[in-house]
């Protein structure tokens, strides 16, 4: 039986003999320019349907979230906080207080039908969106008052515009795969997690199982869809479409071991250059999902990008639960036996 927790190499664990190196993505958000080429290239290659033509107002993000119809999603976060060692963007200009938290809070109410279930992340609330955009010093929601009219608030001088291309994490311990009753979700020889569209029966168990809210159901066909890490391309020695299209190498594809080393060096360089908030996310085999096959370099807390701070594979406790269930069943059986045995003859 597969192990459900702790560090391991998933392909051999899944039974592959001498599999190739585990492949993954390292997405370096410090050089992402928000061009969305990854979103488009992914849709082109994989034939992913389009979504509604609706402006969300979440900065330049009109995709909203990872859904069955968007397997790469570029988040845009405007924050009134310093960006590295940059001279404050608006120092000396006649600015008032920031609009970023209010605009972000407003934007989460614009969610429209993506043709998927649950579609845009149901966990997003105006308050949390505002907190994301405000940075560490969130002063509370500015309520319904017009922007710029709140007396006593500080002028904005700093601005940071974060961009980050999100994707399925291809967890070492993938709960979606663990709960799939049909075997539609499977572990590939590259250690990635893929849904087989001709086997998926649309039961939807995988959707609440994902600790990141990635996998999602398409209403038109009822099946679950997500990033395949371009299984059809990497099997032929090609680079996944998103990484191929990325103009700045923000999305890097390769053997996970190499990517982890490269990422560690990159963080060191950024720290030396004054980007002291740079950190890796999902790189650690000791974390709650055993490390991600797709991990990230972030410039702020994961929550700011809409990522869970400490994801844990939702099936972690299954063995314990089975153990307890087993103990309970034994106890029950014993009790029954005792009951029968104890009956006076």
């Amino acid at each position: 039986m597969n192990r459900l927790y702790g560090p391991l190499d998933p392909a051999p664990d899944a039974g592959y003999q001498d599999p190739p190196a585990r492949m993954g993505f390292f997405t370096d958000t410090s050089i992402c320019i928000g061009c969305k080429a990854c979103e488009v290239a992914c849709k082109e290659w994989n034939g992913v349907p389009g979504h509604e033509l609706t402006m969300l107002g979440m900065s330049f993000d009109n995709t909203g979230a990872l859904t069955a119809n968007s397997w790469r999603h570029v988040a845009f976060v405007e924050q009134p906080v310093p960006a590295g060692r940059q001279t404050p963007a608006f120092a000396g200009t006649p600015t008032g207080p920031t609009i970023a938290p209010a605009a972000a809070a407003d934007a989460v109410t614009t969610t429209t039908d993506t043709g998927t279930e649950p579609g845009l992340d149901p966990g997003r609330h105006p308050d949390s969106a505002a907190r994301m955009a405000a940075g560490p010093e969130f002063l509370g929601m500015p309520a319904s008052e017009l922007p710029g009219r709140q007396p006593g608030r500080e002028e904005r001088t700093d601005l940071r515009w974060l961009m980050m291309s999100d994707v399925c994490k291809h967890c070492t311990h993938a709960a979606c795969l663990d709960v799939c009753p049909t075997g539609a979700l499977f572990r590939t020889e590259f250690g990635t997690v893929v849904v087989q569209e001709d086997i998926c029966n649309g039961c939807g168990y995988c959707i609440p199982a994902c600790p990141y809210g990635v996998i999602d159901q398409r209403k038109t066909d009822g099946r679950a869809w997500k990033c395949t890490l371009c299984y059809d391309r990497i099997g032929d020695g090609m680079t996944p479409a998103c990484a191929q299209a990325c103009p700045t190498q923000s999305i890097q594809f390769g053997p996970l071991d190499e990517l982890r080393e490269r990422a560690a060096r990159r963080v060191e360089r950024l720290h030396a250059a004054g980007e002291t908030t740079a950190r890796l996310y999902g790189h650690d085999p000791e974390d709650g999902v055993g490390g991600d096959g797709a991990f990230f370099l972030l410039l702020d807390e994961p929550e700011v990008y809409g990522l869970p701070p400490d994801p844990v594979v939702t099936t972690r406790d299954l063995p314990d639960m089975w153990k307890r269930a087993g103990v309970a069943a034994l106890a029950m059986a014993a009790a029954v036996a005792v009951a029968f045995l104890g009956r006076p003859a």
């Binding site: 050089i31 320019i33 928000g34 061009c35 969305k36 080429a37 979103e39 488009v40 849709k43 082109e44 389009g50 979504h51 509604e52 033509l53 609706t54 402006m55 107002g57 900065s59 330049f60 009109n62 995709t63 405007e78 009134p80 960006a83 590295g84 060692r85 940059q86 001279t87 963007a89 608006f90 120092a91 000396g92 200009t93 006649p94 600015t95 008032g96 207080p97 920031t98 609009i99 970023a100 209010a102 605009a103 407003d106 934007a107 614009t110 017009l146 922007p147 710029g148 009219r149 904005r156 601005l159 940071r160 515009w161 974060l162 961009m163 103009p247 700045t248 190498q249």
Partner: protein
């Protein structure tokens, strides 16, 4: 750059990774700013004040690369004592004629050359955008101008420049541009510290600089800085124009412009009655430099057009060439359509109904043609204006009555045809065809070849002399394939040029002859087919050749990758530093050498000094690196060739909410205007009522869409990324005008009112300008009425006012009002805009004043 050129921006990111400091100056905080080390907000239209401040910083602190400046620029040259600066004349240079609105530049000349018989006709030059021909070479310079290499002479260019920019202090930059003085000084320091012997800086601009009434002078100011700092002709330096889309460089080299022939040969004027007259007007017999051979370039071009029919004894069929009578630029043409003077029009991959300034005039012009041919990938607004445009809604165009017959012809995309792209480095790269175009889609080459073939068939046997120009054309390209596609390589071969007798391809433009023995379709491209090999198709990987990669593609001229690279060595021919070594003189071999093709006569030693009577190439000395300039020097000061002055001066945009802080002269006094009621200009100070349009607006592109949207709003995966027209405002302006995030607002000018969703964002900031708060708003210009994502067009807001040198429209800055809610519809929209015009005083015979200083009058004795 990250917004509009994301693929090119990878190199900026790579440079940043290697320690480069990235500075971004922009009215709004963009994706580029997000990745920059320093973001500097600026008031749109004030770049000369900003860059002039840098020039002053360099000169006042003597930070110029003195040895380079003295030897390689015209800093030491003495200017006429008749010259008067804008500092003397309240914003005008000497020689201004208020009746024509142009200058007589005689007094701008170098000393001793003021009255040497060269007659200036700047009015005609402006009409015909004469400055464009100088993309490849400067104006002529007679004789040997006087120089003072100590740079102390009060009339030497260096001292004139210093006086001209003396008032461009950090405080003045702050007052004019809204850039805090300490931030400005941070930029000035970074730029100058990264220039000199050991280091070079590059300057990158795009249409944010060109689309202004002073656009040419913006770039001139950049050129002055780069010359003063010694950043020209050296690796890692230069000025790079990022183009609006693929091969824009190619479309000026082999031009689609009304006033140029291939290789920057000027289109003849009606006064040039013979071939010789035309050629002499180009080459100026006494001129120094390579342009002296213009007769060979021109004869070979006419041979390419008319083949065997073009002979020395008939002036190479020169009489078949159309000649210009004046302004036939794209905006003049549109007005001529409205006036019924232009009857037919071809549009190829262009969508002026959305992409050009003053959309309403564009559409009304096209609605008054006999016929219009549109070739495009998708059904665009410029093909459907007669049934789907804002003017249908207002009743200005009635579909049943619109007279224009529109022929829509589907075009092949770039992957469905072969040919070259020429990019900003002048590099030609060959493109293979990946697949056949679907259905009736065809390439431009196919279209024009077969159109010409059919027309020639119909005219065959005609004895009318007017048909000879068509019938005598050399129209014999081989065709192949299912659709009889003409061979693009055969066309490239003809552009390259060949010897008529042997059809042997030429390898250098020095082989072109003026006796009819050579054909050459574009002299600067000569060599792209050297040795019968398509040099543009070379793709040797960088790791297999030198770091300059001369075997990747082919660049004009002569496969040279850095122009004027003689300047990368000191006057004695030694590299300025080993770190920046490039081209050097090898005294043992007696030749110039380096990783690139030296941009100098190979064996002319640094010590060469020309004899007194020398002309042409021979007249350039061994220390004249700028070989296409009349005197071989980089021009800090331009004595002739520019319509609006020898040095860049800050003028306010044609529409501005503030008075020019530097001069009484408000805006460029030579700007090209078209006065007619349908083309009003919003009032600017000192005119009254500028408060009716109190805000500055600018338009530009989003990464997600391409120019007028014809190739992106029509594609689902792109349209969904930016699905709706929007307007960006700062929180401060939102508060002032009651604009709410994601609600509608409308933007009004004296031409139009358009609506958009509101994006209130911290990325915009108000600025302090002259103790006033100036708000700037920003709009993307991609939307129109066709495609999947539709919306109002931002370019409808602009009027038509042009740069005088190249006739490019000012469509990066204007003034406007913004109000919450949607705009009125139908006839009410016309009334609404008319009411704004009434309040702004733009009624009846209102004329926008061009001259706003009486300095010239005051000077008169």
């Amino acid at each position: 750059m990250a917004e509009a050129h994301p693929v090119g921006f990878q190199w900026v990111m790579e440079a940043k990774e290697r320690g480069a400091k990235v500075i971004h100056v922009d009215p709004r905080f963009t994706r580029t700013s997000a990745l920059a080390d320093l973001y500097v907000p600026i008031r749109a239209g004030t770049d000369i004040a900003f860059l002039g401040g840098i020039v002053r910083h360099i000169l006042e602190n003597e930070l110029d690369f003195r040895e380079y400046v003295v030897a390689y620029t015209n800093a030491a040259t003495i200017v006429s004592e008749e010259f008067r600066d804008t500092e003397d004349l309240d914003g005008l240079f000497s020689g201004y004629d208020p009746t024509t609105g142009t200058y007589n530049p005689e007094s701008w000349q170098y000393a001793g050359q003021e009255h040497d018989g060269v007659r200036f006709d700047t009015s005609t030059e402006r009409e015909t955008a004469g400055g464009l021909q100088h993309e490849s070479h400067g104006h002529p310079v007679q004789g040997r101008p006087e120089r003072d290499e100590t740079l102390r002479h009060p009339r030497c260019v260096y001292q004139i420049l210093k006086r001209h920019y003396a008032r461009y202090t950090p405080e003045m930059v702050e007052r004019t541009c809204g850039i805090p003085a300490d931030k400005f000084e941070e930029v000035a320091r970074a730029w100058t510290e990264n220039s000199g012997r050991e280091r070079t800086s590059a300057l990158i601009y795009s249409v944010g600089w060109t689309q202004h009434t002073v656009g040419v002078q913006y770039i001139r100011t950049g050129a002055i800085i780069q010359l003063l700092l010694g950043n020209m002709g050296r690796p890692g330096g230069g000025i790079l124009a990022l183009r609006g889309h693929a091969s824009i460089q190619g479309s000026t080299d082999v031009p689609t412009l009304f006033n140029l022939l291939p290789g920057y040969l000027p289109m003849p004027l009606v006064k040039h009655t013979t071939f010789t007259e035309w050629v002499e007007s180009i080459r100026h017999p006494e001129q120094k430099g390579f342009w002296n051979n213009a007769r060979a370039y021109s004869a070979s071009l006419l041979k390419a057009y008319w083949g065997d029919a073009a002979r020395p004894d008939n002036d190479f069929c020169y009489d078949y060439l159309p000649r210009m009578t004046g302004d036939h630029g794209t905006y003049r043409q549109v007005l001529d359509m409205i006036d019924g003077k232009v009857k037919g029009y071809f549009l190829l991959g262009q969508n002026p109904a959305v992409g050009s300034a003053h959309g309403k005039l564009q559409r009304l012009g096209m609605a008054n043609l006999d016929w219009l041919v549109v070739r495009d990938l998708f059904m665009i607004e410029s093909a459907t204006f007669w049934k789907n445009s804002p003017e249908i809604e207002t009743g200005e165009i009635v579909p049943e009555e619109c007279r224009t017959e529109v022929f829509f012809l589907p075009a092949a995309s770039h992957v469905e045809k072969e040919g070259t792209f020429t990019q900003t480095q002048r590099l030609l790269q060959w493109r293979e065809k990946a697949l056949d175009p679907p259905g009736d889609c065809r390439s431009e080459l196919w279209f024009f070849y077969h159109l010409g073939r059919v027309i020639r068939q119909k005219l065959a046997g005609s004895t009318l002399s007017r048909d000879r120009a068509i019938l005598d054309l050399a129209w014999d390209y081989p065709t192949h394939g299912r659709d009889d596609e003409p061979s693009a390589e055969a066309v490239l071969f003809e552009i390259n040029g060949y010897e008529v007798a042997t059809r042997r391809p030429l390898s250098a433009f020095t082989q072109l002859r003026d006796d009819g023995s050579t054909v050459g379709g574009c002299w600067i491209y000569c060599g792209v087919y050297a040795d019968g090999v398509n040099q543009a198709a070379r793709r040797k990987p960088g790791r297999e050749q030198s770091w300059v990669a001369p075997e990747w593609g082919w660049s004009w001229p002569a496969n040279r990758r850095i122009l004027y690279n003689r300047a990368s060595a000191d006057p004695e021919g030694r590299p300025w530093s080993e770190r920046k070594a490039y081209t050097r003189w090898d005294p043992d071999k007696g030749e110039w050498t380096g990783p690139d093709v030296p941009d100098f006569e190979k064996t002319k030693p640094p010590s060469y000094r020309p004899p007194a009577d020398a002309t042409g190439v021979e007249a350039l000395s061994g220390i004249d690196p700028f070989i296409m300039q009349g005197d071989g020097k980089g021009w800090l000061y331009v004595p002739s060739g520019l319509i609006d002055g020898p040095m860049p001066t800050h003028y306010e945009p044609a529409e501005s909410p503030v008075r020019n802080p530097l001069h009484g002269q408000q805006a460029n006094p030579t700007r090209r205007t078209y006065r007619r009621p349908a083309n009003p200009t919003n009032p600017s100070p000192p005119e009254p009522h500028s408060d009716v349009f109190p805000y500055v607006f600018s338009v530009s592109r989003l990464t997600e869409h391409h120019t007028a949207g014809g190739m992106s709003r029509t594609v689902k995966y792109l349209a969904e990324l930016q699905p709706e027209m929007f307007v960006e405002v700062s929180p401060e302006l939102a508060a002032e005008r009651g604009l709410v995030h994601l609600d509608y607002a409308h933007v009004v000018t004296s031409r139009a009112a358009i609506e958009a969703r509101v994006l209130v964002t911290d990325r915009l900031t108000p600025l302090w300008v002259e103790d006033r708060v100036i708000h700037q708003i920003w709009l993307p210009y991609h939307w129109g009425g066709e495609g999947l994502a539709t919306g109002d067009s931002a370019n409808d807001l602009f009027g038509i006012t042009l740069d005088p040198n190249v006739l490019i429209q000012e469509s990066k800055v204007g003034t406007c009002d913004i109000r919450p809610g949607r705009r009125p519809v139908g006839k009410a929209l016309l009334d609404y805009v008319a009411d704004y015009r009434r309040r702004a005083g733009l009624t009846g015979d209102h004329r926008t004043p061009i001259l706003t200083t009486d300095a010239v009058e005051r000077e008169k004795p």
